[in-house]
Structures are given as C-alpha cells and as structure tokens.
Point group: C2
Chain length 260, copies 2
C-alpha cells in the first residue's frame, strides 16, 4: 500500500474517533480537532502501520493503534505549548490550542486527547490489552523525559541528553512500532527488532531536529555522525523483520536527511 493510502486511512480513523462538531461541549470538540489538525506528516502513525506490514500483517490491523499514537502525540504538543511550559502561540502556522481557546480549555483538551488515545488503542482487534500497556508505559516515559528536560533548562546544567531524548522523543517512536507489531500479531523476535529500530530512529530524529534548529547539544559534525550511526543501526534491526520493511527503511532514510 503506498504511503498516501496509509495517510488516508490514518486521517479517516482520526476523524472517526474525534468527537463530531455536534458533540457537547462544542468548544471541546473544536479544540481537540484543532489540535490534531489534518494533513500533517503523521510520522508516528505511519511508523505504526509500516511496522504492522514489516511484521507480516496489514496496515488495517494497526489503524486504531496508529490513531492512538497520533492522538497521544498531539496531547503532548497541546500541553507543551502551554504558558507554564514552552509558552508557544503558534504551531504548524496556526495558533496553538491555548492561544485560540484559552489556557483552561487547552489543558482539558489535552487531557481528553490522552483519554481518547487509550480509547482508540483499546479498539485494536488483536492484542488490545498489550497495545494499551505499551502505550501507557511509553506515555509515562514521555512525561519523565519532559520533566527532566525542564529541570535541565532551569538549571542550565550539563544535561543527561541520552535519557531526555530516549524518553521525550524515542518513547513514542518505540510505542508506535511495538503497537503496530502487536496489532499484526508479531512474535517476540519481531517485537524486539521493531523496538530496537524505533529507538535508533527516534534518537536520530531528535538529533536531526537539533541540527535543523541549529540547537545541537554536541558539535554539528559529531551530531551528524550520530545520526548516521543511529540510522544504520535502525536499518540493521529492520533487516531482521519477517515482512516487507521497505516503508520503514524509506522513513529512516527520509528522517535522517530531512530539512524541516
């Protein structure tokens, strides 16, 4: 299935899960839909579906898991943007949720998106409880990374970058891949390969982000080398999967060379 078809399935599933405009209170539905938007890159749900394929399954197996990871990712963005956190008023060229709907409703919309992520995960036709457990564990991990990151910024201290990047960024990549594998009924070996690939991919993504932002914790040459090493490590793990890993391989190459 070409990537555009996967993206269509992701958008359709998100639309099916999000409260309709008619749901009460209308303001909450609007804020949730504003947060999730449409037509984004949807990297994490793509990884989820591509992982189901690489594990020998079909992307449809993972459509609820994929929507779950995107909903969860978007709740973290809504809360990250809050005045008490990054205090950002714009995201993806639009006002952030708090800038548009107010602080209280942004906190609440984020909360509802997290709950909806678990509602989506529980809908998986296969391995639903294990998928929820994976998502929940990584959702706690993301917060651990975020708290550590804030502490670092406040103290301006020598930071434990690997801990922060593993949890703040890579944890949701790992959840995406493992949930996709579980949705396709993957065994332990395939799940292990997916976890390893996603960890490397997630770290590479974050270091690449730093390079794009000119905000790298290390000297640029060293960071570039790290991205290359991590991408190679991801590809090696992907080669151990039983199914067609070409979409994941393509994503790995694209993430390492992206410009935004």
């Amino acid at each position: 299935m070409p990537t555009e078809k996967l993206l269509e399935l992701i958008e359709k599933t998100l639309d099916e899960l999000l409260p309709p405009a008619s749901a009460r209170p209308a303001k909450l539905s609007e804020a949730m839909r504003h947060a999730v938007g449409s037509g984004g890159k949807r990297i994490r749900p793509l990884i989820c579906m591509a992982s189901a394929i690489a594990a020998g399954g079909a992307p449809e197996d993972a459509r609820y898991a994929a929507a779950a990871i995107e909903l969860l990712h978007n709740y973290t963005l809504v809360h990250d943007d809050l005045p008490a956190m990054d205090n950002d008023t714009m995201r993806r060229g639009k006002p952030t949720v708090w800038a548009k709907f107010g602080e209280a409703d942004a906190i609440l919309a984020g909360d509802a998106l997290q709950a909806l992520a678990f509602a989506a995960a529980a809908k998986s036709p296969r391995n639903a409880a294990r998928i929820v457990a994976e998502l929940a564990a990584r959702a706690v991990g993301v917060v651990q990374g975020q708290v550590e990151d804030i502490a670092r910024e406040a103290a301006d201290a020598a930071a434990d970058i690997p801990f922060i990047y593993e949890h703040k960024t890579a944890d949701l990549f790992i959840a995406a891949a493992v949930m996709g594998g579980l949705a396709a009924g993957a065994g332990d070996a395939a799940l292990g390969a997916l976890r390893e690939a996603a960890l490397s991919l997630g770290l590479a993504f974050q270091y690449e982000d730093d390079l794009i932002d000119g905000d790298s914790p290390y000297e640029a040459g060293k960071t570039r080398k790290l991205v290359d090493t991590l991408t190679k490590r991801a590809l090696a793990a992907l080669s151990r999967l039983p199914g067609d890993a070409s979409i994941l391989e393509g994503l790995a190459a694209k993430l390492a060379g992206r410009k935004s």
Copy 2:
C-alpha cells in the same frame, strides 16, 4: 471482606503501581505520590471492588481496576487545582501539587497519572480491553463535564446542571462500578444494574456535596429530596445484582448522609 481490608488492598496496589522514590526524575515520582496521597476516603476504588463483589466476584479481581479509577480521579484533581482552573493552593490539608512543585510539573504529573491509570487498567486479569474502553470513555466524559462547568461559571448563565453533574462527577462513579463488574466477569444485566446504581449514586454524591458547601443549584429542601430519590433509585438497582451488594448499599447510605 471488611472495608478496612479493601482499603489496605487499594493502598498496596497504588503503592505497587506508582513509581518508586528512586525512579527518574525523582521530582515527578514525588509529585505523583503527593497527588495520590494515602489514607484518603478512596470512594471510587471502594465502589469498584464492592461492585466486583456485588457481581459475584472477589475484590482481588478488581484491584487494578480500582487503582486505575483512583489514579484517574487524582489526575483530574491535580489539573482542576491549577492556576488556570480553580487556582487552589490547598487540598486535604496539604499544598496542592502545583503549589508545591510548580505549574509545569503539576501539569506533567497529572498527565503521567492519567497514563498510569490506563497502565493499571490494562493489567486486569479479566476483560482488560473492555475495562480500558470503559475508563477511557468516562475519562473523556469527565473532561466534557468540566469544560461545560467552566463555560457555565464564565457566563454565569442558567446551567445545564444535570449534564455537568452526570459527566463531571457521575462518570467516574459509573466507570468504577462497571470496571469492577467487568473485572469480576459480570454479564450484561449486572453491568446495566451497576451502571444505573452508580449514575444515581454519583449524582446524589454531587448534590450532597453542594448541600455541605452551601452551594446548591436548587433550594436546599429540593436538593435534599433529590438526594433521597437518587439514593432510593441506586438501592433499587443494587437489589438486582446477583452477589452481595451490602458494601455498596452501605456506601449509598453513607454518601447521602455524610457531613464532609
């Protein structure tokens, strides 16, 4: 099993689930444990375990579901207390999470508690996916009630009190009861009776709260009558359950006559 034994099992399970003091970052673990506290009334997890018993099961069946509902309830309190929401600095005689740990970490500790609630729910040995789905649906409901309540306060308008109370308060009572029933393997008839009883109990609890706070939306005599009617309705639903509903009956009587 006497109520004190149920409370012990609840505290033990919460302690097992919450990150240990040694977990990184220590501040997050502390904030989460501060939020959940210990020795509270634990009404919702008691309802959950008592519902498992009333459905013919054992309280141990529902220990993870019970912990899940308490974790979820406590995340809502952490976020409700925030400056952008109720701006409360004290709760249960202790500083609120944001007053003690700062606003950003309070938002994040609440987020982690919600994720941990779903991790707990997914651990249920029986019907885990349905338990997660019930918790997720009601967790969205709580936010709907809260957004509507804030809109009401801001507009100072004639409020849709039943909508707000059903979602803001009763939804977590319903989740507690239904999750307990599911954990005990209850059939549809018992689940329906539990849902009905918990809705009435939750509404009675909220109206009673209003009477205690002297902040009733209706004239006090009318509110008192409502509490009585709802309590009777709850008891009638409980009488349809196959197991021993005496703990739930005792809770219903206690909630309707409490002083704090």
